[in-house]
Structures are given as C-alpha cells and as structure tokens.
Symmetry: D2
Subunit: 304 residues, 4 copies
C-alpha cells in the first residue's frame, strides 16, 4: 500500500473507535472546541501533501510551539543554550519541582513547562521585542505571513495559569530567569496561543525532516546537527509523562499539545500532523496517539 | 570517506584525548582490568565487520546483557510483559526508589536495575532452569557455542551487591517479584557476568538492526515490531541518567555497561561496539561516549 | 542558682564564643542590621522580667509572627482550620514542594512558608481588612498600642520574594488558596515585617505559657486546649529543618525567625526571647540556639 | 477527679466507640490476636499503679522496643551515637528511602525502621552477644527476670520482612551498616518480638519519667540529659507519620507498636500503657490513640 491508502485506512479505523479521551479543562477557552474534530495531514520533502478529515480546521497548537521557540533560541545561542536547560527526560510529573530544586533551577529539558519558560526568558533577553520577532520567525518558517496569536486563548491562560506563575517564580528564585517573571510569562502564554491547521502544521515542521533547511527554497533555518538534536529531544521528551510510550509505540520524534494536536517527524522522509481534541490521562490526544501507533506499525515509516 | 576510514580517524583522535574517566569500583573484580584498553568493532547486516584497537579482548558486558534477557522474556511473554515493567525513562537516580513506591513496584523500564531484576524474576518463573536456558539463548543469538558466565565476576558482585539486594526485596515487598529474592538475584548476578569482545558483541546485536532476524540464517529471534520496540527502549532508557544526552549527541539506540562497553544499533544498517573501561560520572564509558559522538557527528550513521 | 544568675552566666559565656553564623541575605533590607547585637529577655507569669545585653533594641521578628497569625486564625475558625493545613513536621526542605503536590495543596504545618501563606489566605477571607485587624490583634496581645509594620522590610521582601510567589501560586493551582495570590502575599509580607525587642517579644508570648490568657488582665486570647496545641506545634515544627534538633537539645516549644530572633515558651512558667542576627545553615540564630541549649541544660527549665 | 476516676471514665467511653481500626497484616502471626482486647495501666514514680480491662494480658510490643534498644546504645556510645542516626522527624513514608539517599545512609531518627536497624548494628558491633545482652538489659530495666523473645513472632517477621531486608541492605550500600545485614536483621526481628502486658510496659518505662533512674532502687540506667533527650525524640518521632498529630492531640512523649500497644511518659509524674490491637491507617492503635487524647484533654497530665 502507498502512504495515502494507509493514512485513509488507519484514519477510518481510528474514527470508529470509541473516544475515551477528555477535553482539556485547565484553559477554559480550549473547552469551546468541537470534540468530534479529527484531521490528519502528511507532507513529504517535495512539499506534496495528503490530508483527510478536518485537516483544514485551525486549532490551538499550544505546546507544539515550544519546538519553534526552541529552534529560534538554539539558532541564536548555539550550544551555549544547554547551560540554561538540560536534555534529559523528566521522569514523571511527581518529580518536576523536586528535580528543579536538586538541579539548581536547570529544567530537565526544553519541552517541560519549566524548560519552555526558560527558553522564553532567553528570547526576551536576546530580542528587542520577543513577541513580534518570534511571530515573524514562525511566519517565515511556516510560509504563513498572516499568522497571529490568539488573544482569546492567551488571555484565558493568563487568567488561570497559576501553575506556570509558580514555576517561573520558583526558577527565578533559583537564579535561572534573567527577566521579570511577569514579562516572561506574558510571552510564554502568547507563544502557546498560536493556531494552525494540520496541513499548515505538518508543512511548518518539514525543516526538521530536511536537515534544518526550508523545503520551499532551501534556505537554512538551523544547522543539520541542530536539526538532528531537536529531533532527538522530541523523541525522548516530546510527550510529557508518556514520552517513552510514544517512542516505544510510534517510533518517531514528535510533539503534542493540550489542544489535541500532535506533529511527528520522519527524518529524510516526511512530517505528519494529527488533531483530535479529547486527551488521554497523560494529556496527549487520545485518537492522535492511536492513529500514529497504527500508522507506523502498519508501515515502515519509523526510525527503528 | 567510507566507514572504515571514519572509524580509524575517530578512533585515533579519541585515543589521544586525556581520559577523565574512573574505573568502576563497586564490583572489586572489575577493578583488575587494564584501564588503557580501547577497542571498536562495527558489523553490517551481511556480517562483514571492521575492528580496531583492543577489539578482540574480552570484557565483562554487565548491563548490556539486560537487552538479551529482555529479548528472551519478551519472546516468551509477548506484550503482557509490560504489566510487570514500564517503558518510560527513569528521570534520575534521585527518584528511582521513590518512583518504585509511587508506582507500586512497577519499575520505570527494563534497563534500570529494578526493571532488569523483574525481568530475571519473569525468566525464573517461566524457565525450568533460567541460568542454563538463558545461556543457551545467548549462545544461539551470538553464534558462540562456548560462551560461559564468569564465576569470578558473579561472585564478586554477589559479595558486594547490597544495593541490588535492597532493590529486589523492596520490589518483593511491593508485590512485583514472584520468586524467592535470593534465587532471582543469583540469576541476575550471573546474567551480568557474561564476557564478550567488541567483535562478538557487535555481531550478537545485529538481530536488532535486522528486524529481529539472525543475519547468519534469517531465523527469527523476535518479531519485527518487538525488535523496533527494543530499539526504542534502548534509545530512551539505555544510558542511566545520561539517556537523553546519548540520544541527543549520538542519535542511536544503544546500551552501556559498567565494564566500559557500549553497543549501538543503526536499524537496517549496522551495529557497533566500543570498549574502554574508565567511566564518566554517569557510569558510562568516557572514551566510548566520545567515540560514538564523534563517529555519528561526522557521518550520516544516525537515525535522526 | 536562680534564673537571673543562670541567664547572666550563659549569656556571658555565649557572648564569648566565635559566631559561625551568617547574615540572612535573601531579604536585602535585613542585611543592614548590626551583626554583633545579642539580647535576651525572660518574662514570668506575673509579668516580671529579666533582660540582658541588647534586649531593648528592636528587630524584625519575621516568621515568629506566624504564631500570632495562627493564633488569630485558630481563634476565628476553631478546629476547622486543620482542614486547610496539617500538623505534621515537614521533614526537610528537599520535599516541601513534592509534599504539597502529594497532599493536594495541604501544607504540612502552619509554620512552613506554604502553611503560613494558607493561614494568611484564611485571614483575608474572614476579615474585612486583614492587614489592619491583624495589627490590632497583635497590639492587644502585646500591650503595644503603637506597634506598626515596617514598610521598608515589607517592600524589600515584596521585591525579592519569588519563592513565596511561587509557593502561593502553586497552592492556588492545587485549590487551597481562596483569594487572589497577590493580595494574600501582600498581607503575608506585611505580617512578617513586624518589629519588637526581646522584652516585648517575650511579654507578647506569655499567653501561651498561661493557658491562652493574657497575664495582664486574665482575658482570654484563645482556649486552654488551643494554647496547648500551639505549643505542641511549635515544639514539633517551629525551627525549619532543625525542629527535631531544637526539641532534642533545648526541650521547649519555640519559634525562630530569619531576623535572628527566637522565642521559647515553658508552659505554666515563663517565656524567653533571644536575638542575635547571624544564622546557622538551617536559618536559625547561631547564638540564639547556643544560648537556649546551654540555658535549659543547666537548669530544670524544660518540659522533659 | 483523681487519675483513677479519669482513667475509668475515659476507658469506659472509649470501649463503647466503634472500632474503625484494622489488624496489622504484614506479620501473619500478629493476626492471631483477639481484636477486642483493650487494656490500660498507669504507673507513678512511687511504683503505684492502676490498671483496667485487659491490662494483664501479654502482647507483642514490637516497635516500642526501639526505645529500649536506643537507651542501651545511647548508654554505650554517648553523644557519638548521633553521627550514625539523626534526631529529625521523617516527614512522611513517601520520602523515607529518598531521604536515606540524600542524607548518605543516615536515618532521620532512631524510631523509623531504618534508624532502629542502625541502632541494632551499633549493638551488634559493641556487644559480644547482642541478642542475649539486650535481653539482660531489658530484664533489668523492667524487673522481669524471666522475660524472653517470642520465637513465633520473630520467625513470622523473618519470613515476611522483605521491606526491612531492603532497608538494611540499602543502608549497607550507603556505608552506614558495619556488620553483615543478615546478622543485624536477625537481631532486629528478635528485638521487636518482646512481649509484655500493660502493667509491665508502663513499669518498664518509668525510668524515662524519673530522670533516667530506676524507681525501684534509684540505680542509674542513663543520665538525666539523656533521659530528657529520649523523651524529646519520642515526642517528635514516636508515631510514624502521625508524630505531629500525637504531640498535637495528646501532648506527651510516647511510642507505639504495630501490635497495638502505646506507652506514654509524663516527665516527673507517671507513665501509661494502652493496648488495643486494631490499627488506624497510620499504623497506630485506633482505640489507644482515642483513649490517650481524651485522657490528656480532660486532665492536666500533659507537658504543654
């Protein structure tokens, strides 16, 4: 079977299974989404794509944006960035604050919330206007010149993000935040409020399947070794408490968001984005995980 | 450059750098090894190999054997094995016992000591004579009919392995060990006492680069999906506290042992074994890590 | 020897020993105090006192005020207060955030920072103007009608109290803070900024040696059982990580503050306040601890 | 009311309340006890006693014996003993193993299992025959020349004490056990198997209410400061996870055992022993705790 047939088959099978997931509730605005949405889009390195279902409906990409902010900060600071954040899986949620204390405010990796907040602090320090310049960067990477933040989503998070306020101030007290916590958090919540559809999302991530180069014009976003390392990080740390499970069952670098989106990267080959809003107990899209597991099990589209 | 030239170049460069590692001291018998030993051997899927340095000197493979015991237990129990042990990275040593308690005696993965002990318990339950039948299995996989346990190493560990005695009894008290702790530990220490040289070790692991099949005769050791999953586990959990770092810098599934050996697997392509006894602070071979990092950075031999 | 002679003797001996303590640095304003200050004052239940050294110099009582805020909240809520905060020692600083998560936002006791913040939240909920009404309460208990908060100290803490901002927002995210974190913290920092001298401090705490009654007029501040229970809490939880050490070496209920003050209570008998600004590694006054240890070892003024 | 009337009244009231406790199950032999047993005995410093209910029925004192082994080890080593074990409350069961690792094998206090095992190690090191000499010591303190260990109880624990085997080997691996773990544990299980009735138990502990001296002949068991310090330790650490609760509600130094016994000490005044086998969720006698809380609330027999 070619990849279109496999996607269609697995999409239809996954559509049928009973959805045991639940809507994310900690950001009230996210609860307004239609829970039956389900879309998939794959893009290869020639820019050819194949989509199915609600693949053209926009959704909040949330934590998936952390890969883009990491890319920009890594591009700016180079390897020095790893003095501010580590590259290790975080174990479980039980230890996150404990580990921050033991490791003197150095987050375990850039994809846990504490790590993404430190990355935001780096961008605030290095850019004149982090919010605008980050948006310009994502517009360029995604070829979406009109992309904007969602104020509704950002405001909803700002009003309820006590846990992130706690994290940022805790790291500040341990010496690993340079700027005012309020400013850093403001940018963090904006960054997480970006919206894309599956087609746009899979297209945006093609630079990570293409050695750091944009597939449209071959221009360099990051170096090839940097691109490999971001893929390695997505594989080991991209799925909260379920990172091992994803590597184990899906076998691809990827990143999920509480909006129900997942993007996965098969180096030298393709990217794929899935969206279904209801989440499993670990905060990853229930149907998204099922789809990707079936998709890679019935194909050779994995790295192992 | 072809792979032989790259290996030779990186080997010679790595040989020159000052070795900051230290000998493993917690198993007295291991301290008797010559600290200057340094060998590398690569094997491709046709069985062709290339070795350099002390690649034909035998050493204690220690924790590397955990991949082989997992393979046998997985072959016997199938997916039910994951009810006894999880597939998540363990975070850090700081939390291992805490996490065992929180997760009711289910170890985080089969490569931390607690997980490997549970795998030994599974083999003791399912095999008439675990010690003998496991040895037969490894002899078959490695095409080494005369392979034996090292009583010297095993006895040295048995006399000083208080931490492992503690782990096994702790898991027993939490209900996830079926047999007598003394019997399980006895097998565990034997299992870790196997000795191979770099050539044998890289050859033994070729089934994981070959979809679960022996390269010599194509016979099935495990299924293709099982093979992919063991590779995923090695990538996320194979290097103690440094698993993320290895995936990040080397970009290959692999497993290290305190004897100073490391084996890495490039699916569909090759395996490579490195040995140098002095260890970095995380318990992985200092020069072995340096060699593999350089080797994959200067080549396309990675999965990312 | 009578108590005056013992106090004089131990004071003079303790004055001579080399002070290994360090000034508290996390609140910049506290660093401006004269580090050689050393005062002691004892008050018996007739209101008779005996002081020595710098016993009439005012200092920032800091965490000692947590006993007074607990007293007021306990008076208001009665035993229902223990649904919001527990009565157990906290073990060590290593676990404080971990334990908050495991126990769903219920702090281990009212004297760790998290517990004192929850007590402030209770007072903000129950009082029209917590800041004013708490000050009125302390003025009444201490017979000091002109007592005020120190804006300098409070402002200095507000500008650097990231750790407490983290704690309050973390508990809010776990559901155990009712009010806006900013408002609760504002009151918390004011509360900790009260200033007294040793004479005033020992006098203020006499109600806890007197079964909850003011010694000046016999009026009831809290009930006798409540008074006993606050004493028990000071004994088990009053000295951060050193609570066991204080009970062990001094044998009295007591409370310390990072301003270098300590107050101790001998039920049915007396109270004693000590002040010396330099702190030991656990954050308790170096000379204060030494004085009290010697004082109770050479007398029968303990509860054991 | 005099103390006899109070004991009688509180005993009868407590007898009536529904017992929500459960039998200890982790030592099978303990499960054979009659769950309706309920006895109380008080002894004053003249040796006069008053008992009620099943106060003359023998039971397994279990962890209460840890006070006696500590007394003997303290007598032998003096203050040097605190280099091997600390004097701090342990927080909660969740952190016990974590804290052992963080504090390099130094248990938090001598009453958690890890601490009591280290005390046993000390006695094995200092005595020719720890088992016999400890028994002689307890016979002398208790004036019970025929006291013996219960082999049935000890054997039952030895066959199921995996958690304690784990603890002892873990501490050995951290360097704070001098002898062979098997020998230390053997003594530990014997030590916990002592049996007494309430009358004997309260009599045995009178030396701690009497400044370290036997009340029968005034001979010195330990010094007065040592006696005060053991009382302080019982107050802060005597009741597992409920130590704070006991200090808070009862207000006396005391020690409980999983056999359902509790002994409490009112310095300069009396001792009291209670026994009822069913345990609350924290492992302390359900009715024993209720009785002591009521007894001290309705009397002035507390230290606060």
């Amino acid at each position: 079977m070619n990849y279109k047939d496999i996607i269609e088959k697995v999409y239809n099978e996954t559509k049928e299974i009973s959805n045991e997931g639940k809507i994310a509730t900690y950001i009230p605005e996210l609860a307004n989404v239609d829970p039956t949405m389900f879309g998939v889009h794959m893009t290869n390195l020639k820019g050819e794509g194949f989509g199915i279902g609600d693949n053209l409906v926009k959704f909040s990409i949330q934590s998936i944006a952390k890969v883009l902010s990491l890319t920009l900060a890594y591009k700016i600071m180079g390897e020095k960035i790893w003095k501010r954040v580590d590259v290790e899986p975080s174990g479980t949620k039980f230890d996150s604050l404990l580990l921050l204390e033991i490791f003197n405010g150095i987050p375990r990796n850039p994809f846990v919330n504490s790590g993404a907040i430190v990355i935001c602090d780096i961008l605030v320090s290095h850019l004149g206007n982090a919010k605008e310049e980050f948006l310009d960067f994502v517009r360029d990477v995604s070829n979406l010149p009109n992309l904007t933040y969602s104020d509704k989503i950002a405001d909803s998070e700002k009003a309820h993000g006590y846990r992130n306020v706690a994290l940022c101030n805790f790291i500040k007290s341990l010496g690993n935040i340079e700027n005012d916590p309020t400013e850093v958090l403001d940018f963090y919540f904006d960054m997480c409020s970006l919206e894309m559809n599956c087609q746009q999302l899979s297209y945006t991530f093609t630079y990570l399947a293409n050695g750091g180069l944009k597939i449209s014009d071959g221009s360099k976003i990051i170096t090839k070794p940097q691109s490999k390392r971001i893929n390695a990080l997505m594989l080991t740390c991209g799925f909260y408490d379920e990172s091992g499970e994803f590597a184990f069952k899906v076998g691809l670098p990827g990143k999920s968001g509480v909006g129900g989106g997942i993007v996965a990267v098969c180096p030298h080959s393709y990217t794929i984005a899935v969206w279904s809003p209801l989440l499993n107990p670990n905060g990853n899209s229930f149907k998204g995980m099922k789809f990707l597991e079936e998709f890679t099990t019935h194909s050779d589209f994995t790295i192992f």
